[in-house]
Each structure stands twice: as structure tokens, then as C-alpha cells.
């Protein structure tokens, strides 16, 4: 099995705060890796470091057998990133944006046109001629997804990608990701929707306060904790359980 993503001892300090303590994990080709954790646990920070946006304080990242620090451009040519907040150039139209991405990644024109029209049909994107500044959150999210998926990257990183998507588009995204994984891509996704993690992810890592506190397939996590639902496992691991939550609610 080929390991497309290898992360070892990744750490990030922001001044005195340590956002990520020491994180190591691997993702194989054909695998969807789910990254769960409470707000502020360090998921986005981890993803920014792996995608070459943020320089880690220490640790190594290897993607497609290339060291990210040494070959950032070669690595970036192979990956696709869907950030948590779709911030795009407001004064460009969707079409111009896709053109820009296609040019940067030196895509083939006919193939790109073909894939884009397929993806646009799937996500019901019919607003490419409008300015991005006039898009809704979900529309921007769809545009980013199209720009990433049209390239069929070897490794895809998604930060809470289903936020803002309507039910049908979310469903299609999930199925597409599964298909891309089956075709040999490696996929890293963070999410707060445990149901998505449960149904889609081959392996799950749970991060709390900058450290991975549990990792494995759903079955492994179940066996380890003795709980059935991922929700219980998650709450248990991150330091609260059903009774605590109940008490909080009652006190409110």
C-alpha cells in the first residue's frame, strides 16, 4: 500500500500558545481519513501546515513521497485544498476563477471544459457568470469544490467541506469523494458531523488540545472504548460524557 501523506511530530506555536503539540499520522492511497476534535483543538492549524500554508515550528510532512519543505511547489501541484472559509477574489466571476486555476495547474483545455460541465451539473452550479462577491456561502463553497475536484488531485484536503452545502450537494460530494478515493486518491477531511465521519471515513483521528488522542477504524475505536456510537466515543475521549452534558443543560 502506498502512503500518500506522512506527517510526523508536527508542532505549531503561536507566540506562547501551542496550537498543535505533536501530531503524527499517515494516509494511504484509496483512504478517507477523518479528523475530528472540539473547537480550537488544532484541526485547521494542522491542515494549514500540511498544505504548505503555515510553516510548522517543527516536524515533517511528506506528500506523494516528496518533502513539503524541500519541494513545496511540486507538492502543491499534486494536492487540492478546500479551506474552512471560502475566501475568494470578489471581483472575479466564477468562470474567470476556474480559468485562473486551470491555467495555474496547466490543465488540458478540452478535458477541463468537460469535467467542469459535469461537475456544474452535479452541484447545480449555474452562476459562473456572476461575480464571486455576489455569491452566497454555499455557492462559494461549490465553486471551490469544483475548482479542486476538476483537477482530480492525488491528495485532497477538506476543512468542514459540507458546511453550507444543501442536502443534495452534500450527498453528491460524499459520493464523489468515495469515488475519487476508490480511484486511488488519498483524502483528509475534518468535520464536526459525526455521522459523516461514521459513514464515510476509513480511518478516524481524534484530536484534542493539539494532540491525537485516538486513532483507528471505527471498529477499532469501538473496541478500544467499549462504546457503540461515535458520539459517545468522541464525548468520552474529549473529556465529557452524556451525564455531564445533561447536567450542563439542566443548569441552564
Amino acid at each position: 500500500m502506498t502512503e500518500l501523506v506522512k506527517v510526523s511530530n508536527l508542532r505549531k506555536d503561536f507566540g506562547k500558545i501551542t496550537a498543535v503539540k505533536s501530531i503524527s499520522f499517515k494516509i494511504n492511497a484509496g483512504e478517507i481519513y477523518g479528523f475530528l476534535g472540539p473547537n480550537g483543538a488544532g484541526k485547521t492549524t494542522t491542515m494549514r501546515m500540511i498544505t504548505g500554508v503555515l510553516v510548522p515550528t517543527s516536524g515533517e510532512v511528506e506528500i506523494c513521497d516528496l518533502d513539503l519543505e524541500k519541494y513545496p511547489i511540486k507538492v502543491k501541484a499534486q494536492i487540492g485544498v478546500v479551506p474552512d472559509e471560502p475566501k475568494l477574489y470578489e471581483n472575479m466571476t466564477g468562470q474567470e476563477f476556474l480559468e485562473f486555476i486551470g491555467s495555474i495547474f496547466s490543465m488540458d483545455k478540452t478535458e477541463m471544459t468537460h469535467t467542469i460541465s459535469e461537475l456544474c451539473d452535479a452541484f447545480e452550479v449555474n452562476f459562473l457568470d456572476k461575480f464571486i462577491g455576489d455569491y452566497s456561502h454555499g455557492m462559494k463553497q461549490k465553486l471551490v469544490l469544483t475548482s479542486v475536484l476538476m483537477r482530480k488531485p492525488k491528495v485532497i484536503f477538506l476543512d468542514e467541506a459540507t458546511v453550507g452545502l444543501d442536502a443534495k450537494s452534500a450527498k453528491i460530494l460524499k459520493m464523489l469523494l468515495r469515488k475519487y478515493a476508490d480511484e486511488g486518491s488519498a483524502i483528509f477531511m475534518t468535520t464536526h458531523v459525526l455521522e459523516i465521519a461514521e459513514k464515510m471515513c476509513d480511518r478516524i483521528g481524534i484530536i484534542n488540545a493539539g494532540e491525537i488522542i485516538a486513532e483507528g477504524t471505527l471498529t477499532e475505536l469501538r473496541n478500544e472504548s467499549g462504546k457503540q456510537s461515535l458520539e459517545d466515543i468522541f464525548l468520552n475521549l474529549t473529556g465529557s460524557n452524556e451525564e455531564d452534558v445533561k447536567e450542563i443543560i439542566d443548569n441552564l
Binding site: 503555515l54 476556474l98 486551470g102
Partner: protein, 533 residues
Amino acid sequence: MNQLGILLKYKLKMWSNIPKRRGRRGIPLFAYILILGGVFASIGVPAYFLFADTFKTYSTIVFSGVSLADLFVEISMIGILTLVLVTDTPAVALNVFMSDDVDFLLSLPISQSTIFASKTIETMLQGGFPALFVIPILVAYANAVNMPWYMIIFMFVMYIFYFLILTSISALIALGISKFASRSGTQRFMIFTSLIVYVFVILLMSMVGSLNSNTGNVERAFSSYVNTVNAPYLPSTWFLEALKMQWNGILLVVGTSVVLSVIAYLVASNGILTGFSKMISAGKRVTYRRNYRIRRPVMAFISKDVKLMRREPSILFLLVYPAIFPLILVGFGALGKGGSAVSRDIMIPVVSVFLSSMYTVIATASLVSIEIKVGDFVNTLPIGKRTPLWSKAFVITSAFALVMIVTFSILSVIFGNALFPIVTVLFSIPVLLTLSFFGVYATIKWPNSIGGIRRPLNTTGTLVSMVMGVLGAAFADLEGIYVANNQILSFLQPVLGFLLFFVAPILAEIVMAVVTFKLLAKVDWTKPYDLEN
């Protein structure tokens, strides 16, 4: 505390929080005021002495009840009027109707007029700085005509009312724009501004025309000039009349000021919401092509930056000025000295290069801050870290060079003599490129994180970039003068002229470029606001 006070206080807090978030100690407010005061004094005090002398002689030259000093005060007032209308009106429009926090503010239980007032005051505080520079002129005038102290206080009260007139007009026009322009049709802003400027240019030109046609009779020329500047419908005329304690002047200034302020406030109290909704609603579409165009990556970047520049009104404003202000200067230059051809041919390119240099820094800063606003995105692309910067510097430099070339071509067709302008543009291109990179550095070093794309630099950054712009422009102009106009250097020994006007500026330029690139290498342009290391 009333709501307007709260809004302004919270803006001020955000302002003073910026250095703290970047891990530095905040600068106390009084230090800021001291620094600004120092800058103001260093320009204002020499200006005062300069004007005080001139006004003494000018005030004795009187024509049909108006002295030359009076005329000068009036012209300054017209200047301020133009400046406020041309620069602050679009700023108010953008700041009130297109700024990010208006959305949030409108959702709070605050009246629309309060939001409008706070936004307008905020813009005027930032953009009204030039209005302070009239103060030395006014004091010098008061001195020249021997005003008693209570009259000086009265004069400043009148000036406040006068400024209120300008603010209200500006705010009303901004409200008007918001009804007609949509966010996507941003170019309309630019057209609007250019129109105002053109009207003024035409006014001035017609004045000049009336002067020139009467060259034989200086007195008649002066009288027609007085009549034009002293037109009864201009607020500047009312201001002067008020200073002379004429009742109709005082009434007009105070009355207009109060009436316009009230109208602006009333209109704003129900206009802002509809204006704002129009500005944020989806506007014009660009034609949809089934065909996609694939370019080489670097070309894709350049073409993207050209699009972003074309569609960003604040950058377009910056581009329009170097083209239009020289024309205004043709007017003023001709007024002052009867318009000698040499001073005109040299003045125009010099002024244009100065404006282009200063604005190059700010325009690049704006373009870079668009990229910064998009955040991590660019970093995830497989391109070199420097590609986006080169592309921006290239786009901005070319744009300003193009504007100058077009302006100068038009002017040389009208006036002849194209050598100096052409040489100067050529010499200014490397300067503009360097300044553009300096703009990148300035955006990272002195960001104004609440100013957004429209005001990308904080006060320090704006001042520093102006100084750099002036220096760079001076270098290019000196070289241009040496190569194209060296007969005016005949007072110098040839060797000295060569050293001072050619070698020294080129060396200084190289030093500037090296320093800029050294500075730029030290910072990471991709994360200006992060607390790194």
C-alpha cells in the same frame, strides 16, 4: 453614552488594537497625536512664513474691492472643495455602502442616520487631513490683513461651517451614487469622479482662456478672472464675504451648512438601508463563454491581477489622478505666471511623475491587500512565493506608465515638445517598479487591517510611502531634466550638472532598489497579521 459615541469609540479601539494583535505594544493615542502634530507643524510653520510674506504684498493689490490675498484664500477654499469632493465622496460611498461591518451594524438596533454619521465622520477624519493645511494660509491671511483675535476665532468657526458644507455635499452625493451604482458596476464610480474633475478642469481652462484672449489688457484680464473665481454661487465666495463681516456671506455659509447637514442627516436616516442593499445585490453579469482559456501560469496570474485592478474602484481613482491633475495645473500655472511654455512643459510631467510615484505605492498595497484578504488560497497553489508579487508590481507599474504615456501624448499633441515627457516616463519606469515593491513591503509592515482594500496602509505607512514616492519621483525627474532639458542647467558646470542630475539620482535609485529588496526578503508577505515567531 449615546450610540454615535459608542460607534466611534469602538472604531478607535479597533484602531489601537492593531499593533497589539501583531504582538507589539500599542502606541498611546497622545503619541499619535504628537507625531501627527509634528508632521503638521513641520509643514505648516514654513508654509505660514512663506504665505505671511506674500500676503503682505498681495493684500495691497486690490481690484474692485477684492485683493490678491483675498483671491488666494478663495482659490485655496476652492482647492479644498475640489479635494474633498473628489477624494472623500467616493471614500464615503465605499466606506458606508461597501464596507464589511455595515452589514453587521444594520442588524443592530441603531438608527440608520447614526450609522451614516459615524461612517462619514470616520472617513472625514481619515480623509480630511489635507483640510488642516489651509490653516497656515488662513492664519497668514489674518496676519496680513491685521485681524483682531476674535476675528481669527470667528474665521475658524466659519471654516468649520464651510467644511460642514463640503462634508454634507460629499455625503449626499455618496448617497446618490449608492442609488444608481451597484457593487458589480464599480466602474461607474470612477466615471463619476472623472466627470467631476473634468468639469473643474473645463472651468479652469475657460478661465485661462479668458485670460489669454485679453493679454493686451492685464486689467481686464484680472477683472474677468476675479469675476470667475469670485462667482456669487461658490461657497468660497461666501466664506470670503463672511470674513469681511458681510451679513449675506455669514448667513449663506451658516445657513447652507445647517440646511445641507440637516438634509443629509434626514435623507440618510432612511436612505442608507436601500442604498446598501442595492450595492450588495447581485449586479451585472459578464458574458458566459462555453470555452475556457488556458494561459501559462505566470500569464494567468498577470491577467488575474489586471482584472482585479480594473474592477477595484479605489485603484482606478489612483490611476485617474496622475492623468487629470496635470491638466488642472496647466490651468493654475497659466494663471500664476501667464503660462510660460517652459514651466508648463516641465511642470506637467514633473507633477504627473510625482503623483504616479506616490500612488504606485498605495495602488500596489491595495492590490496586495486583495490577495491577503483571500488568505491562504494563493499559498496552496503550485507557484513560486514571489510570482504574485512580481505580477502585481508589473501590472501596477505598467498601468501607471501607460497612464502617463497617454496623458503626455495628448498634451504633446496640444502643446508640442514631447522630449522631456518621454524621457521622464522612461526614467520613471524603474523607479515605479521599485516603489511598487516597496508598496508590497509597506502593506506587510504597516497594514491597516480595518481599512481593507481602500485604505491598505496605516498612518505611518501612508506617510512613509509618500516620502518614498516623492524621493523616487525626484530621482526620475532630475534624470529627465538632465537628458532632455539640460539648457536650463547652464548655471552649473557641465561636470557638476552631470554628477548632480544624472549620476547621483541613478546611484540613489540603485540604493533604494537594493534596500527595498533587502527589506522585502525579511518579511513574509503571506502572513501579515499572524503572530509568528
